[in-house]
Amino acid sequence: MAKNPHNVLVYIELDHDQLADVSLELVCKARELADRLGVAVEALLIGHQNLDSFAPTIFSYGADILYLTEDPALEVYTTLPYCHVTSRLIRDTQPQIVLFGATPIGRDLAPRVASELKTGLTADCTDLQIGDHEDRKLKKVYHDILYQIRPAFGGNIIATIVAPEHRPQMATVREGVIKREAPDPTRTGEIRPYPADLSPDLFVNTIIDRVVAERKVNLKAADIVVAGGGGVGSKENFQLIHDLAATLGGMVGASRAAVDSGYIGKEHQVGQTGTTIRPKLYIACGISGAIQHRAGMDKSGKIIAINTDPNAPIFKIAHYGIVGDLKEVIPMMIKAYKTKT
C-alpha cells in the first residue's frame, strides 16, 4: 500500500446497541469505491464499551481498518464530543472520502464536522460513483473524483455534485438506497483503538430524559409491501390494505396523503420524507405516484398499481397496472391468492 493512501472512511452508527443498517450499506459502498481507487476501507465506531464485538460484522461487509473510540462519557450520542472525535480522526488519518448515514444523527454530526474541516458535504445522496471531472473554466481535469448523486427540488431533479478541490469529500447517504452485499464471514481486518481526548467543555448538554420507542414498523425488511394512498378514501377502507398485506405476508406502507389524512401512522410512510424501500413486490393502492413517493419505492422489484385514474403517474413506473376500484380489486386479489395457495 502507498505511503499516504487516502482511504475511504465510514462513520459507523449504533442504533441502540445494534449496528445501523445504513452503516453496513455504506461499508459495502465504500468497498466498491475503495476497490476502484485502489485504497482501503476504514470505519470509525464511537461508544461506551465492548465495541470490538461489532468488529467481525464490520469487517465481513468489507472494512479493512476499524478505529474504536471507547469512553464511558460517550455512551449516548451528543453532538460536540462525537464531532470532536470524528473531526480529529479525519485530520489525523486524512481519508479522501468520508461517508455518513443520512439519519438524524448523521445529519446532526456531518455538517458540523464538514464546517470545522472547511470542506464540502452533500446531503442525502442516493448514489455514489467515481469518475473524472473537467473544469472547463480552469481547463483542468480532476481524476477519480467522488460523484455525489442526490435528488433536489423536492425530487424533481437529480443532481451530481462534486468537490474537486477539497478533501475529504463528504456525503451523507440515505438509508436503504444502497444494496447490501452478502457479508463474507472469513474477511478480517485490523482494530485500531483511537483515543477520545475529551475535555469537560464539550459536555454542555444534559440529557434529562431519553425515551427509545420500540421499533414497530420495519418496512425495509419486508419482501412485500402493500401501500395505500389518498385514493383509499377512508380509514375504514384502509382495512383492505391491512387485509391484503396480512394475506400475502407483507407489511403495510402508505403515501404522505394517507398519513396526512390520518388513515395510518407516519411510521408507515414510504417516500422522500418517509422510508426508502426496495421490496420484491410493491402494491400501490390508490396512490397517484407523486415524485416524492416514487423516490421511496421506484427500485422495488415489481410494482403493481391499482388506481381508478388511468392517467395517474404511478402507472408510468408500474409493471402491472390495474385501472379499477381498489374496493373491488383487493377482495378479488385476496380471493385469488387464497384459492391458489
Binding site: T79, L80, C83, P104, R107, D108, A110, P111, R112, S115, T119, G120, L121, T122, A123, D124, H133, Y147, P151, A152, G154, G155, N156, I158, A159, T160, I161, V162, E165, V204, N205, T206, I207, I208, D209, R210, V212, R215, D223, I224, L248, G249, K280, L281, K302, P313, F315, A318, H319, Y320, G321, I322, G324, D325, V329, A336, Y337, T339, K340, T341
Partner: protein, 306 residues
C-alpha cells in the same frame, strides 16, 4: 430578562405544490415558474421564537440571505410579529453552497452581536440538506440542538427542549447561547396580524427604497446628488418608524471574498437531470376476477410471493 433571538429564514421555490403550470411539456419542472415562499420549517422556527417572546420577553430578529426579492419574506416575518429584519444580499453571494452560506450567516450573527438563541428550520424544501443550522453553529462557536419539537422552559439562561431523533425522544437542558433547528411538527405558525400587516406593508429594504426613489417622479427632475439625499432621507424616516429592512452587503459584513459565493463553495453541481417519468412497460391487468386470477398465478409461479 431580555434575550435576543435570531431566526434564520430562507425564501424558497414552492417545490411541494407543483401545479401543471410549472411543468414543461417534456414532463420536467420549470423551476423559475414556481412561486417563492417562506420556507415552511423556518416559519416553525419563527413561531417558536415569537412564543418565546410572549412567554419570556425577547427581541426577535429575522435574517435572510438571498436575492433582493427575499425582502418579501422579511415583511411576512414582520406581519407575524418579528421586531427587526435584515436582508443579506450581494451578487458576490451567488452560487453559494451550504458552507459559503453558513459563513455569511455566521458573519451576520457576529455583526448583530450578543445573540442568545439562534433558531432555524430543520431544512429548506429546495435543497433538503439540513446543513445550514449545524454549520452556522460551528462557525459562531455555539452549541447546537437539532430536531427541536418544543421549548419546555427558558429560565436563568438555561434552556430545556424536547427533541425527536427518529425513534428517540430526548429532553435536553443546556446553557445559552445555543442554536436550535425546529421541525414542522413543533407548532402551527400563526397567520398575519391585521394591524401589523397594515403597518409593515410599508417596510422597505435599502434596495427597494433606492429603486422606488430612482424610478419615482422625483428623480426625473433633480440631479444625482439630490436623489442620493432623498434616498438617505427616506431611509432615515423609515428607520425612525421601525419600517426599515436593514440591508447588508458582503462589504458590510467584512466577508472574505474567498469564503463566499461560488469561490467559497467546495461543492459544485456537475450535472442536473430533470426527472421524466420512466416509461416502463406496464402490463394492463383488467379489473376482473379472471384478470386478477391470472396476475396472482403469474406472481406465484415466478416466486414473487416468496
Amino acid at each position: 430578562m431580555s434575550i435576543h433571538l435570531v431566526v434564520l429564514a430562507k425564501q424558497v421555490p414552492d417545490t411541494h405544490n407543483i401545479t401543471g403550470e410549472a411543468m414543461k411539456p417534456d414532463g420536467t419542472v420549470n423551476r423559475a415558474a414556481l412561486p417563492a415562499i417562506f420556507n415552511p420549517e423556518d416559519l416553525n422556527a419563527l413561531e417558536m421564537a415569537l412564543q418565546c417572546k410572549e412567554r419570556y420577553g425577547a427581541r426577535v430578529t429575522v435574517i435572510t440571505m438571498g436575492p433582493p426579492r427575499a425582502a418579501d419574506i422579511l415583511r411576512e416575518a414582520l406581519y407575524r410579529g418579528a421586531d427587526d429584519t435584515i436582508l443579506i444580499t450581494d451578487r458576490a453571494f451567488a452560487g453559494a453552497d451550504t458552507l459559503a452560506t453558513s459563513y455569511v450567516l455566521a458573519k451576520a450573527i457576529e455583526k448583530i452581536g450578543d445573540v442568545d438563541l439562534v433558531l432555524a428550520g430543520r431544512q429548506a424544501i429546495d435543497g433538503d440538506t439540513a446543513q445550514i443550522g449545524p454549520q452556522v453553529a460551528e462557525k459562531i462557536g455555539y452549541n447546537q440542538i437539532t430536531y427541536v419539537e418544543a421549548i419546555q422552559e427558558l429560565k436563568d439562561r438555561t434552556l430545556t427542549v424536547h427533541r425527536s431523533l427518529g425513534r428517540v425522544t430526548e429532553i435536553i437542558q443546556t446553557r445559552l447561547p445555543v442554536l436550535i433547528t425546529v421541525t414542522s411538527s413543533a407548532n402551527k405558525p400563526r397567520t398575519f396580524g391585521a394591524k401589523r400587516m397594515i403597518k409593515y406593508k410599508k417596510a422597505r429594504s435599502l434596495l427597494e427604497i433606492k429603486r422606488e426613489v430612482e424610478s419615482g417622479s422625483f428623480a426625473g427632475h433633480y440631479g444625482l446628488e439630490l436623489v442620493e439625499d432623498e434616498i438617505a432621507l427616506v431611509t432615515k424616516e423609515l428607520r425612525e418608524k421601525n419600517l426599515l429592512i436593514e440591508t447588508w452587503s458582503a462589504a458590510d459584513l467584512d466577508a472574505d471574498p474567498d469564503s463566499i459565493g461560488l469561490r467559497g463553495s467546495p461543492t459544485k453541481v456537475k450535472k442536473v437531470i430533470s426527472i421524466v417519468l420512466a416509461a416502463s412497460e406496464t402490463k394492463d391487468i383488467p379489473p376482473t376476477e379472471e384478470g386478477i386470477h391470472d396476475l396472482i398465478t403469474e406472481l406465484i409461479e415466478d416466486r414473487t410471493f416468496g
